[in-house]
């Protein structure tokens, strides 16, 4: 009897929390279809804000910047992070404390300290050498830096989870380390790599603070554009872009769930 009341209370609490979690996103989505400019009253359905998006060159270029930044940085982080993950596994019996510290550093550093250190560093280097001009290039560097640890840790934990005898078998089967990598390591790591890529991609798209501080004047991403638009005075166009981004995240969520079920890495 008591247990049932508790369970019912918890279930109610669960639904209230879900409403709390989704209400802000739903409001953004709802008002993206608002016919009027008002943020308080919904006056009718319209797609006019979406039409405006398509005509806005800044938004389109911000979209491309976001996409290119996410893809390029994720691929680079995948390569570098995968190597570290493998190195950590192969040499896990050595004392690699310094490496662990190094890898956790990008994760524990507060975003704002991360972003500002890099900004100050890039700006100073640029002033003295002309290199590292703030722009998409510096943003890619910053994003790769915070993606590497996640890739490395995913790859490492996948390798640790494997049966050690598999490696011995692979050693007998394939003569060269290269062949071993192509025929054994890559296929085994595939689910981990896919998941690491998606995680890096999501981290990149989701980041605002670090991008904001390392960006150049020409390399605004969608979140940076939205930030500027909010600062400039709230416009319903923001609702429309935000809705598209929320939609993309929802799709990613479904995909990740499907992968998780199948792959079970």
């Amino acid at each position: 009897m008591k247990k049932r009341t508790l369970q019912r209370g918890l279930s109610t609490f669960w639904w209230v929390t879900i409403v709390f979690l989704y209400l802000p996103l739903l409001v953004v989505m709802l008002f993206s279809f608002n016919a009027s400019n008002s943020a308080a009253n919904f006056t009718g359905f319209s797609l006019r804000w979406y039409e405006r998006l398509l005509g806005n060159e800044q938004i389109i270029s911000a979209f491309w910047n976001s996409l290119v930044l996410a893809i390029v940085s994720s691929v680079m982080a995948l390569v570098i992070g995968c190597l570290i993950g493998y190195g950590m596994y192969r040499h896990r019996h050595r004392k690699l404390g310094w490496l662990i510290v190094l890898i956790y550093l990008p994760i524990v550093l507060p975003d704002i300290v991360f972003g500002i250190s890099e900004m100050a560093f890039f700006v100073s280097i640029h002033r003295h050498t002309g290199l590292l001009q703030p722009g998409l290039g510096t943003m890619i560097i910053a994003h790769v830096t915070f993606q590497i640890p996640f890739v490395a840790l995913i790859v490492y934990s996948r390798l640790v989870g494997l049966d050690a005898t598999l490696f011995e078998a692979a050693k007998d089967l394939y003569a060269t380390p290269f062949k071993r990598a192509v025929h054994f390591l890559m296929p085994t790591l595939k689910p981990a790599l896919i998941s690491a890529f998606f995680l890096s991609f999501t981290l990149s798209i989701d980041d605002f603070v670090i991008s904001f501080f390392t960006a150049g004047p020409e390399s605004a991403t969608l979140p940076i554009y939205i930030w500027g638009a909010i600062k400039k005075g709230v416009s319903p166009e923001i609702n429309a872009i935000a809705t598209l981004m929320i939609g993309a995240v929802a799709i990613a969520a479904v995909l990740s769930l499907m992968f998780n079920r199948k792959g079970r890495y």
Binding site: N37, V123, I140, G216, P217, K232, G233
Partner: protein, 354 residues
């Protein structure tokens, strides 16, 4: 698909070169205030010189300076700062001198813009537009609001309606100084300290809603987020004209205690990718007809004497052209440097933190 490939290749190229100067020929990068440029002028310029103009926008001068310091100095061709930032930009070497031989239209400027106090001899800058910063308020809320800063600073005049101050600390401090009777263009520790105290008390009142830049504050007012704020006369006219319904009950006024008059000037960053084209652009804007077209579009006063015959009538009346009486109340925001600037920054930091 090809677009994304080329873009990725370009990004990687940029990475390898670590983003050296990869500005393209035939592009002009314009860094301007929001809602400040007629798209048709841009089109005409693009057509005349067969180039492309890339526009970027800022909402406040601190924001502009920060972007300029973070690489913008070598990525923009034209910037449009206000008078009190001009000396700062010159002294830090962020801008380059203008080549007067390339500016045949410079003499079109009215006399008082030909040799401004903030840039003697127009060595570095050419005026773009001028205007005023005043109080915008909801006339339904304040049907007979006093022509005074007390709408913000006096809790008895405005006990409960939300209001915003200006994001740029120098303007907000000037407003507080004016209300306290030190004049908008006050300087000196004592006046500043007193106004910082007033600002701290004011921002801790229940109906203070934030430090907002001039153009967004108009949007907020129209949406009912605030009922009193600071904005610029031209933006006010522009918004009201575009959306008479939402802005119908919003008024602009110059308080009796005095407020800001500003001049925005075109300047060329020190390492602009295309200074030649930048000079052409400045000369283009200084043209009599283009200058008039610009003012007719954005409702700001033109510094251009030759443009006068082409100006719309609305530009000769308040609020675009203030009355003689109001004119006498307008002051430049002081240009700060050295120890003075640092002291001011500390006080403003304190206002924001408390």
């Amino acid at each position: 698909m090809t677009t994304i490939t080329t873009r990725i290749v370009a990004a990687l190229g940029g990475l390898v070169l670590a983003g050296g100067a990869y500005a393209e020929e035939g592009k002009l990068y314009l860094f301007n205030w929001t809602e400040y440029m007629d798209p048709e002028i841009i089109e005409a310029f693009e057509e005349k010189y067969d180039v492309e103009v890339v526009q970027n926008y800022f909402n406040s001068l601190p924001e502009m300076l920060a972007k300029l310091n973070a690489g913008g100095m070598s990525q923009y061709d034209i910037i449009v700062p206000s008078n009190y930032y001009v000396p700062r930009l010159i002294e830090t070497g962020l801008v380059q001198p203008l080549d007067h031989d390339k500016l045949t239209n410079l003499d079109n400027l009215k006399d008082r813009f030909r040799d401004p106090s903030f840039d003697p001899g127009n060595k570095y800058s050419a005026a773009y537009q001028w205007g005023t910063t005043g109080i915008i308020y909801n006339s339904d809320t304040f049907p007979d609001g006093p022509k005074s800063w007390s709408l913000m600073f006096d809790p008895e005049v405005n006990p409960s309606y939300p209001f915003a101050l200006m994001g740029d600390g120098q303007v907000s401090t000037g407003a507080a100084c004016a209300y306290l009777g030190h004049g908008y263009d006050c300087t000196g520790v004592d006046a500043w300290k007193e106004s910082a105290k007033l600002l701290i008390d004011t921002k801790n009142r229940g109906n203070f809603s934030g430090f907002v830049d001039g153009t967004p504050s108009l949007q907020q007012l129209a949406r009912g987020v605030t009922h009193v704020a600071l904005s610029y006369n031209g933006d006010y006219m522009n918004f009201k004209n575009e959306d008479p319904e939402s802005f119908g009950n919003i008024e602009f006024m110059i308080p009796n205690e005095g407020t800001e008059m500003w001049v925005d000037s075109m300047m060329i960053p020190a390492e602009a990718p295309n200074p030649d084209l930048a000079h052409k652009f400045i000369d283009f804007i200084l043209d009599a007809k283009v200058g008039a077209q610009l003012s007719n579009y954005n409702y700001y006063s033109s510094p251009n004497a030759a443009a006068e015959p082409y100006l719309d009538e609305v530009l000769t009346k308040p609020p675009v052209q203030p009355t003689e009486e109001d004119m006498a109340r307008l002051k430049f925001t002081p240009s700060l440097k050295g120890q003075e600037l640092q002291t001011f920054n500390q006080l403003w930091n304190e206002v924001q933190a408390r």
